[in-house]
Symmetry: C2
Subunit: 341 residues, 2 copies
Amino acid sequence: MGGDHGPTVTLPAAVEFLERHAAYSVLLVGREPDLRAWLDRHLPRWQHTFSGRIDLLHADEIVAMDDPPAVALKNKRRSSMRLAIEAVQDGRADAAVSAGNTGALMAIARYVLKTLEGIDRPAIATALPNRTGGSTLMLDLGANVDCTAEHLLQFALMGCALVSALNEAAGESSGRAPTVGLLNVGEEVIKGNDTVRAAGELLRGSSLNFYGNVEGNDIFKGTTDVIVCDGFVGNVALKTSEGLAQMMGSFLKEEFMRSWSTKLVALIAQTVLRRFAKRVDHRRYNGAALLGLRGIVVKSHGSADAYAFRHALSRAADAASKGLNDKIAGALGTESGVLRV
Amino acid sequence: MGGDHGPTVTLPAAVEFLERHAAYSVLLVGREPDLRAWLDRHLPRWQHTFSGRIDLLHADEIVAMDDPPAVALKNKRRSSMRLAIEAVQDGRADAAVSAGNTGALMAIARYVLKTLEGIDRPAIATALPNRTGGSTLMLDLGANVDCTAEHLLQFALMGCALVSALNEAAGESSGRAPTVGLLNVGEEVIKGNDTVRAAGELLRGSSLNFYGNVEGNDIFKGTTDVIVCDGFVGNVALKTSEGLAQMMGSFLKEEFMRSWSTKLVALIAQTVLRRFAKRVDHRRYNGAALLGLRGIVVKSHGSADAYAFRHALSRAADAASKGLNDKIAGALGTESGVLRV
C-alpha cells in the first residue's frame, strides 16, 4: 500500500482490477482497519460484491520511500512490503505488486524469495512502446548499477523468456525466438566499453536470437524485442524518456492554450489529441517486473495513479497466469552451459 | 564536407550562414573542383556577392563514415577533415565544423590541436532544450565510454565555462555561476556506482556551483545549467531522446492523417502544430562542441540537413567570437588545485 499516494490509489485500482478480471482475487496488505474502513466507505457491499475475492492482511509498519534498503530489510520485518512478498513465498499470493521504495522492494524480494538457479542478480524489466505498434522489453532499469558481461547475458535470457511467455499466451507466438539487442554507443562490434564488448561475445555464443548492438533510438524504433543494458544506463534512459515525453506533452498543451483562437482549435482537435495522448500515455506501460526471483514481483511507478496501478496489477496477473518463472527457469536450464562460461 | 549528405547540405548551409552573419567568412575544405562547380552553378556571382568571404581549400581524400579513427588519423593525412582541423591549428580558421565520422573527428582534433592544460580527455557537449524555455548543456555525449571521477570534474569545469561564455555574450549574465548536476540513478549522495560517487565528492570540493545528483528527467526539466555524465550514458540518453521524439512526432502525425476528417482538423490546427514542431525541432540544437581542445571544433549530426548544419556553423561562430577556449583555460587555472587531487 505504498507509493506516493498510498491506499487512495492502490485500493481503487484493486477494485477496478477485480471488476475487469473475474478470475482473480486480491490480498490487500496494509493497516487492516484503514483498508477495511476505505472499503466500507466506498463499497459498502464489498464482501458481497467480491465474495471471497478480497482478503486483508494486517501489517504494522510501512517501508518509507526514503528508507535505505538495508534498514527496510533488517528493521521492518512486519512491513506491508515484507508481508506481501512473504505471501508470494508461502503460496498465499501468486504475485506481489508494490508502488513503494524500489531499492527496499528489491532487497526484501531477493532476501525472501531468493534468485533462480543460474541468476546472480535480479533485474528490473519494463515494456516500452515502439513505432511498430508493439513494445520493446528493456532491462535492467536500475537494480544493478554495476554489471558484468555474465549479468547482461542473464538479463537477456530472462527478458526473452518473459517475451516468449507473454507472446505465447497472447496467441502471437510466431515460432520465432525473441530478438535481443545489446545497448551500446554504436552498432559496430568494437564499440563500447570492455563489459559491453564481452557481453556481445557471450550473446553471440548463446542460443539466443542475438541481433547485435543497438543504440538508444532503437528502443522506440522497435529494432529488437528485448534490449539489455546495465541498470545505470537503463535507469537514465528510462527517466530521460519520461522527462522528454512530459516536456513534449506540455509544449503541445501550451501551444494549444496560447490564445482564445488556439483554444478553439484545440476544441476542434480534441478527439485527435486525445487519441494521441492515449497512445503515448506512459501509465499504460506501468508495472516493471523484478525478474530472476523465485516468485513474481511487479514494481509500479511511485507516482502511479489508479489507472496506472491497475495496469501494474494486470501485468502481475498476466505473468503469474502464464507461468513466467517456470519459463525463465526452463530457459536458464537450456543455457546452463553458457551461464557457466 | 562529410556527413550523410556531403556538400549538397554543407554548401547551402554555408551560403545561408554567410547571408545571415556579415562579419564571418568561411573556408570550404573538400574537393576543390567540386566545390567550385557547385558554387558556380548555384551562385554564379558568388565571388562578387561574397567578396573575399569564401575561400576554398582542396583536399584529396575524405574520411568515410565507417573508417576506424586510427585509420583516419594515420592513413588519411590529406583528408578534408584533417585539413580543416589543421586550418584551426595554424590560425587560418577560428573553428572547424564537420558532419563526418565522430570518432575520427575526435582522434584527429586531439592529435592536431592537443588538449588544454589540465584536461585529459576532450568531451562532446550539446545544448538540449528544457521546459524552462532555456537549454541544458550536457556532456560527455560519446567521446569517452569509460571515465574516472576526475574526468567528470573536468567535464563540469568545461561545461560551466561554455555556459558562462555564451551567457555573458548574450548579455544574460546574472553574476550567478552556472549550476552543475551529476547524472545519476537517484538524488541521494549514496546512489550510483563508485566513479559517480567519487565524482560527487570532487564536485562538492570544487569551486563550482554544484547542485548534486540529478536524474534523467532533470535534463528536460532544466534543473541545472550543466549535466555531466560519462560518454556511454550520455550517448544512450541523447539517442534515446531522439528516438522518442521521432516516435511521438510520427504518432501525432498518424493521428492527424488517420481519415479525411482528421486531415481537415490538421488543416485547421496547422499553425499550432507548426509552432509545436518548431519548438521541438532538434535541428535547432544541432552542433555539439568538442570541448577541451586548443581550438574550436563543432560536430554536426551526420544526418543534418542544411537548416540544421547552419545552426552548427552558428554555434561554432558563437564559440569562436566569445573566446570560448580562453574562458575554459581560465576556469581550469582557477581550479588547478582541485584538478591535481
